[in-house]
Symmetry: C4
Subunit: 366 residues, 4 copies
């Protein structure tokens, strides 16, 4: 990518626009789309538009500290890269390139069960520990082995996805004919057989259950997994405060307030509308993360003010990966970080701990 | 219809788009249009967009039971086919093809007084009992005879329409020049004479009263009809809780919360906004149905959570009939059923009885 | 106008669409436009969209009485024709043709001070008494003489306009270059001199005061006028309940809740939002009228339910006049009347007195 | 500009449309754009659309007094020209022409630190005293000297900007390639060196701090400045009532409720939504001003009713400057003033003191 084109990438949405031009339609739609009518996809973004920040003036902001320690390791910014699948669709080196991008921006990447490069290879390529997103399989023995492998490879935390027990209607994805090209497989599932490992994961008419995601995962499995693990366990996909509370009681280390980026059940609430209720219930005793719709530094600010310890960015780094590889991810993250610092500086905050819910107000209804 | 075109029909709205291309304008407008400015037509859909489902995670959903017993007969899904008129406009075999579609999808069809095939012929063609939608005529003797005929033919229940005592302004229909083609008649009304039976039913400027729908039907007539019948009686077109309560007191068996799909009085509330109020009044003692705007599995879920025992789908199956006959209806219903199962599975419900109003919340106002 | 084109005029908005094609731009813009950003113009319409009618079913509506007695004379429908200016712009016979249209539809027309035919000529042409809309002039003697003339000619009531003490910013009108063509004058003002009588009445940059409308009219003038008159006096352009109450105390006979069709101060509330507050204050003791945004029978129904004794239609009959002369007005009114009857019949009302506020509810906020 | 083109400039927005045609893209975008997604830019305007004015009728408005005394000097209208930068981009004589425009319309202009003509030259050209907008520099000595210079030159008041401690994301401006052309410098900063004085002031990716605006300004600096000054001190960019209260306690003379026209932190509340809260806190004891989104006379009316002593207009006079120089500013102001008088007259107000909050109501939510 030439320098002048790169210099015109000024905000996260610019990466989407450019990626749309570069990617084939199926790959673009895979990233961009949500389930069904995309009500939740839009609600995630709309929720940020409804929040106003009330800035404090005449604070000395000549030094701003954006760092946060998570599970004992200091992160420069309260921003992580959410688990997403099939990176080889977006860059020839796939998840390896994403690891490079994460490293260059000093950001923690959460590897997906559905990566097109094995977790071990990703962790080997990485200068920093990765996290791993886990779909539990019907064969719990397979899951146990998978978890053992990634832990051994150096994984720092496990994020168990709990919001996709059955398939969801992915109309746009199906319409675009999304499927894995020949030669691309979900490397972490290769022991299930090549066919299973390479099957496109979206359902179709009448396809309720998914081959590689168990529909019968319950809190008992969480307890079992918790006992298996030597590293932190997070639940990804929690929207109800009661479920966050149960996670806390069962000894989980964190919760990711998520609706799968609007790709699971369409019509569920935006993550930002549920975050404060979950924070009121378990904030302080569980690490709290939010994903879904983060596009601006002010979004990061709002999520932290509502009680998140950190946020996760998903689609934006895939677009950046497609546009400019590791360098794309680095610049995309630099934009977001600078915007976040601007939000802190202009709101009169010099450390994450000073970002409080009282600085927000809901926009007056129209 | 070739297989690849069929495989691109992924949601109910796809059938509308395709039907619009295939049908002549008058026939399409007859299905699609509502009265006047279509405020109520839009409100029916918008009401679903305002409802959020709060999903429960980590429930074992490896088995989901979607069945419900209605008037003593088990229905696989809480979804019925609403009464609609003039099917021969949409398929050469008319209502007979619709019966085939209903049978193939194991769904109960409600035949209309304004069918272009007689109820007897429909019931003969059907492997399962049909219901019958009744417009009461000025000549109550005619109505008594009609009801006797359909009951004798095997009809399982009568739905008396009560929301169209006079005509409504059907501008779009009139603009498109909708009328019955030569040779097509309302077969159930043939004894009224060929002219009456084939007259287009919409009014025009100054046409307040309708030839074949009595404007003087009152609760007395409901009592009379109730006494005439040996099968269940439902009132179709109730929006006020007080009217549902009167129906209950007079011994009706069910109420269909309906605004005639936005085709009667424009400006009345959406059915979904009135359903919970009606359920609070008569839920449990009357069978409750809702129609108007059902397009997604999550819509079915929301209606049940708000108190409906089952929902009715109207326009969507006419589009499917036009696009692909009985096979169209079968696939359209398969899509809706799968989506409904996905909604249940992703929300953590394994039986209809577990779908509760507490799982819903209203979307935050913009 | 040929019969088939006429038969495609199905609702009031159709007359606007057709008039727009037929009229020169300045004339069309004069009718259609509001002041400034047209916030109030749009609010008038939007207010109706926010009101829902809750219909009562199973009422015998085989006979519907839409009549109302106003100032001792029975009106078939609670609908009048609002005062509007310059009819010769829209039809070669001008206000005479409007009188014919009003007579054909058995509707009371309110003549404007700014008519292009004198009130006396209008009243002579009319089979029924007219009302007269009055702008008070700086020269109160002129006003006294004007009022005397119209009363003598047979005028039934005087509507004093009180919402246009100074000019308003009529950007669209000015942009379209609206002015009276040569030879067209405000005949009622001819005694002020030809130049004054033919000057376009809209202001421009820096033109705060109007030549023929006094800026110093106060409640004292209302008392004076009240004493001068032998016929009913109404105030037109009242939005505040307190002002309606003062009108009552000073012996006015009626109030027209109006914002000059959004042509006076832009940003004032819709008439429908203020009507119920005014009805609560003075309803029953003053005749209450509403104009602004009436386009459908359900709008008339809603206004009556909110407390109006009758409504006034303005722009729609000018469009009808332009499209089809007296016959246009007759058909336009027939459409509106039938729609109103449909609204009554479908809502379960058989007389105006049964239209109550309890039948309305506000649409749920989005 | 020829007279007929000028006569078609009927409202403030017309100047924007015309300026957009005349200016190069970078210059236009510099004026028009806000930060990031422009949520606050839009909110400023939207807030006015949500406010309704309830007009009082039958008041004698044949004489309307729009004057207000501010810091001892009588202003004909409660409208000032907000500080804006780089006028030579819009007119060859730059700020000198703006001064002429301000003088012709008898309006006070607030000169910007970022003017392309020195304050001294501006004040020399002006028939009336100017105000000066101040960015505090890292080098407080420079600031002291700057303040001394402008005071000596005749400046009447100092407005210290407090809402831009760090840069904001100015995507549109960066995208348009905005920078100062060769030969154009910020004359007031020339002593910092030519390079600094001519550097475009917007940031870019990673550019958090600004070369010429100090990030470490605190209330201590306000106290220091207060002590330095012999003329009134206002804080510009206050949105929180608490900050306005602190300003009062520290002896400031006024507060400008502003969000930098939506150019600082995107997502902060509209100025109109915060004004009444600030007025409740400090109204009466501090001079209160509002900027952001003023385009109509009714906007001025609403701001005054909400508690502002006067408003400031920014973008509109730059458009007018670009379109027609001093004559443009004069006519633009004449339009706004007439509209304001119309608002007063039509609402029944004859002096600023009679414009009260009770005359406003919030538009009903949709």
């Amino acid at each position: 990518m030439d320098i002048s084109a790169r210099s015109m990438l000024l905000c996260l949405d610019d990466y989407e626009v450019t990626a749309r031009e570069l990617l084939n339609k199926a790959a673009y739609e895979y990233i961009a789309s949500g389930a069904a009518d995309e009500k939740t996809l839009k609600a995630n973004r709309a929720a940020f538009d409804e929040i106003e920040i009330l800035p404090q003036v005449l604070v000395d902001v000549s030094s701003i500290d954006t760092s946060r320690t998570i599970f004992g390791r200091k992160h420069d910014y309260p921003i992580l890269l959410a688990p997403t699948g099939y990176h080889r669709l977006f860059h020839e080196r796939g998840e390896i390139e994403s690891v490079y991008g994460a490293n260059r921006s000093n950001t923690t990447l959460i590897a997906s069960t559905f990566s097109t490069v094995s977790f071990e290879a990703m962790q080997r390529a990485s200068a920093a520990p990765l996290w791993f997103q886990l779909y539990m399989q019907r064969d719990r023995g397979f899951t146990r082995e998978l978890v053992r492998r990634v832990t051994e490879a150096g994984c720092e935390a496990i994020c168990l996805t709990v919001d996709l027990a059955v398939n969801s209607p992915r109309d746009r994805e199906l319409r675009a004919g999304f499927e894995l090209p020949a030669g691309m497989v979900r490397e972490n599932l290769i022991d299930m057989g090549r066919e299973t490992a390479s099957a496109a994961h979206s359902g179709g008419v009448g396809m309720l259950y998914n081959q590689v995601r168990a529909p019968n995962v319950t809190w008992k499995d969480v307890e079992w997994l918790r006992d298996e693990l030597t590293i932190p366990l997070l639940l990804k996909g929690v929207l109800r405060p009661e479920d966050a509370e149960t996670a806390r009681q069962l000894g989980c280390d964190g919760v990711i307030v998520s609706n799968h980026g609007g790709r699971a059940l369409d019509g569920v609430p935006s993550t930002m509308s549920m975050l404060p209720k979950i924070a009121d219930k378990v904030g302080g005793s569980l690490a709290l993360f939010l994903d879904g719709g983060i596009r601006r530094g002010t979004d990061v600010f709002a999520a932290l003010a509502m009680g998140a310890d950190a946020v996760m960015v998903g689609r934006s780094y895939l677009y950046a990966l497609a546009v400019d590889g590791a360098e794309g991810i680095e610049r995309m993250m630099a934009i977001l970080k600078t915007e976040f610092e601007m939000a802190m500086g202009l709101a009169g905050c010099t450390a994450l701990s000073t970002i409080e819910r009282a600085m927000l107000q809901m926009r007056p209804a129209r």
